[in-house]
């Protein structure tokens, strides 16, 4: 077994089945702390399922090691201090205020002072929701709710790398319901977290933002890992077209630096043009 130089998330031979159907098949990869790792792939390719298995939500076979420790063996409280998870959807049962939702992310004893209010406000500021603390969560738009959830998740693992031990953010489609300004803002938050030493693993659908922000990309298709590498290695005409079963052309902006994907109309529409 190789010892990683930097702390990593190591996945080995991960398999997940849902009601007897294999969804994730024999996936192995490593993600480094201090980097943004993005999982892309078509609908139903097993991205979210894999993330759910990695975060311990779904039963699976294979090994998941975080910073060299087997995740299964960690007590829930310790694991919660090591990584936080932003789900695709969160529905609240009861009418909480925004501040109360964010507060749920603050672990017991994580803050020295009795009132967590400053931390809550800081977290809300980061996701561009300052002044929203007293609002009823249910009165917010979908995009705003998603950012509140991200603020909550950030509170859970606030310091990205305390004492040299990285913490991890697992984000399942964190920008799916956001406008373009907030998509970029949230990706900046994720990138900052990685730059400060933390690990970020995100499922994204936007290939261009992926190309812009990812340090490492995993491409999934029908439950398997189709390819992985840097944006330049992975985002090529051939590979993205194969992954999404659709002709896609990659250009480069600016000046040959970042791959940029141009969608092409397929079939009859293209023929008409």
């Amino acid at each position: 077994m190789s010892m990683a130089a930097t702390p990593t998330l190591e996945i080995e031979a991960l398999n997940v089945s849902l009601s007897g159907t294999p969804i994730v098949r024999d996936v192995s990869f490593a993600a480094k702390a201090g980097a943004v790792t993005v999982i892309v792939g078509p609908n139903g390719s097993g991205k979210s399922t894999m993330l759910k298995a990695v975060t311990g939500e779904l039963r699976h076979t294979g090994r998941v090691r975080l910073n060299g420790t087997k995740v299964d063996g960690l007590p829930p409280e310790a694991l919660a201090g090591l990584r936080a998870v932003l789900p695709q959807h969160t529905s609240l049962t009861f009418p909480l205020t925004v501040a109360e939702v964010v507060r749920l992310g603050i672990r017991r004893g994580a803050l020295p002072s009795a009132s967590p209010h400053r931390r809550i406000c800081e977290a809300l500021e980061r996701v561009d929701l300052d002044g929203f603390a007293a609002r009823a969560y249910h009165s917010l738009s979908g995009g705003e709710q998603q950012r509140v959830q991200l603020a909550r998740v950030l509170c859970q693992v606030w310091d990205p790398c305390p004492g040299g031990v990285p913490r991890w953010l697992f984000l399942d489609e964190p920008i799916s319901s956001l406008d373009i300004r907030h998509q970029i803002l949230i990706m900046d938050v994720a990138a900052d977290y990685a730059r400060a030493g933390g690990g970020v693993v995100a499922v994204l659908h936007d290939l261009n933002l992926t190309a812009l922000y990812a340090d490492h990309i995993l491409v999934m298709k029908t439950g398997r890992l189709l390819s992985q590498g840097t944006p330049k290695e992975v985002i090529t005409d051939r590979l993205v077209s194969e992954a999404f079963d659709h002709p896609l052309r990659v250009s480069a902006v600016p000046a040959g630096e970042v791959p940029f994907i141009l969608p092409q109309a397929a079939g009859p529409v293209a023929a008409v043009r």
Binding site: K52, P87, T97, E100, L104
Partner: protein
């Protein structure tokens, strides 16, 4: 729904509480409300002790409670006997049962992630009733060895196991992948209630006259016949639940986000669910054992409090205990004075007030039902 204090209450509340509420932090407000509810409970208890077929002056009540001096006259001696042997146990039992029912409701709603869950509505009380009825009817025959071993605890424990079995079954039927379907839960509750009712009916069929009287008292729900022995039987169980349940608050708060998210927060969800189910069954079982089926306290009280202080279980649960106790004592005081010298079973009163309230919540949350 206004989440910050309204303009009227802003003038009545301390500045800090209002300021914090404006920041979305209802903790100071919740603490203030809890302090107020504690005072309300004391006031209601004293009021109930003085009121009844026989009015006893407050001064005599306080004197008797503090155990000061001998009774000065035969009248005062009579007052004191009424107070210590009849009214005080009844008021205390009302406080215990009211607290147990309201807290059970709040815990169950948190567990099922559903504001309409209530032990009375979803059949837990019926299950507990069946357990208790079995003990009443079969306690001298088939279950006699159990009574011999458990003594006065046989009845509350039987109710507890009846409630536990129902809650567990309900949870297994109504919950898939951590989400509880309201429709399934309510329908399963109807079926389980019917089943428990039918079994109780069989027991009624074979019951003796004395047993029938005991059973009838149960069906309606009443605090009449409260005595120190009942407090001794149900009190410890309810007390353990009331003291223990705040430890579930953190977990229940996390569960507001759903089971998966709660797990990610480091909450041991499976253990939380098991403990919560046992706590609900114990509190409901003990209440049903001593007072029969008193409905709707568990749905009205938590709902009113969530509107005021929010759904944070750290404050919601103690507030429920206090308000539940106060409301039940008040309802009981009405039930034993409104048609004096006769008594109206308290279950009728709570249902009269609670059922329309339940429908009101249902209508406001139609989305939940049809989705």
């Amino acid at each position: 729904m206004s989440l910050s204090a309204s303009s009227l209450s802003e003038r009545l509340l301390p500045e800090r509480v209002v300021a914090q509420a404006r920041l979305g932090d209802r903790e100071p407000l919740a603490r203030l409300v809890i302090a107020g509810l504690a005072m309300l409970l004391v006031a209601v208890m004293l009021f109930s002790l003085t009121t009844g077929a026989l009015d006893i002056p407050l001064s005599s009540v306080v004197k008797a409670l503090l155990g000061q001096g001998e009774a000065a006259s035969p009248a005062e001696l009579r007052d004191r006997i009424v107070l210590m042997d009849v009214r005080l146990p009844r008021v205390l039992l009302g406080a215990l049962v009211g607290a147990a029912l309201a807290v059970s409701g709040a815990v169950m709603q948190g567990l099922f992630r559903n504001p309409l869950a209530d032990p009375g509505i979803v059949g837990v009380s019926a299950g507990a009733g069946l357990g208790a009825a079995s003990m009443i009817v079969l306690g001298t025959t088939a279950l006699a060895p159990v009574v011999a071993v458990l003594g006065i605890y046989a009845l509350p424990l039987a109710a507890f196991f009846g409630g536990l079995l129902t809650t567990f079954t309900l949870y297994r039927i109504g919950t898939r992948g951590g989400m509880t379907s309201v429709a399934t839960m309510l329908l399963a509750g109807i079926a389980l209630s019917a089943l428990a009712g039918a079994a109780t009916g069989l027991l009624v069929y074979i019951a003796s006259d004395q047993q029938l009287r005991d059973l009838n008292f149960w069906a309606l729900g009443s605090l009449a016949g409260s005595n120190w022995q009942k407090i001794l039987a149900a009190g410890p169980i309810i007390a353990v639940v009331l003291v223990g349940v705040p430890f579930l608050a953190h977990g229940l708060n996390g569960l507001v986000l759903g089971e998966a998210a709660a797990g990610h927060l480091g909450i041991r969800v499976q253990r939380l669910k098991r403990v919560a189910i046992v706590a609900v069954a114990a509190a409901t079982g003990a209440s049903v054992a001593v007072s029969g089926g008193i409905g709707f306290v568990g749905i009205v009280v938590p709902h009113l409090l969530r509107l005021t202080i929010g759904p944070d279980h750290r404050f919601l649960l103690p507030a429920c205990a206090l308000l539940g106790g106060s409301l039940l004592i008040l309802a009981d005081t009405v039930s034993r004075t409104i048609v004096a010298p006769a008594e109206l079973p308290i279950g009728i009163l709570t249902a009269l007030a609670g059922a329309p309230f339940f429908l009101w919540i249902l209508l406001r949350r139609k989305g939940l039902i049809y989705s």
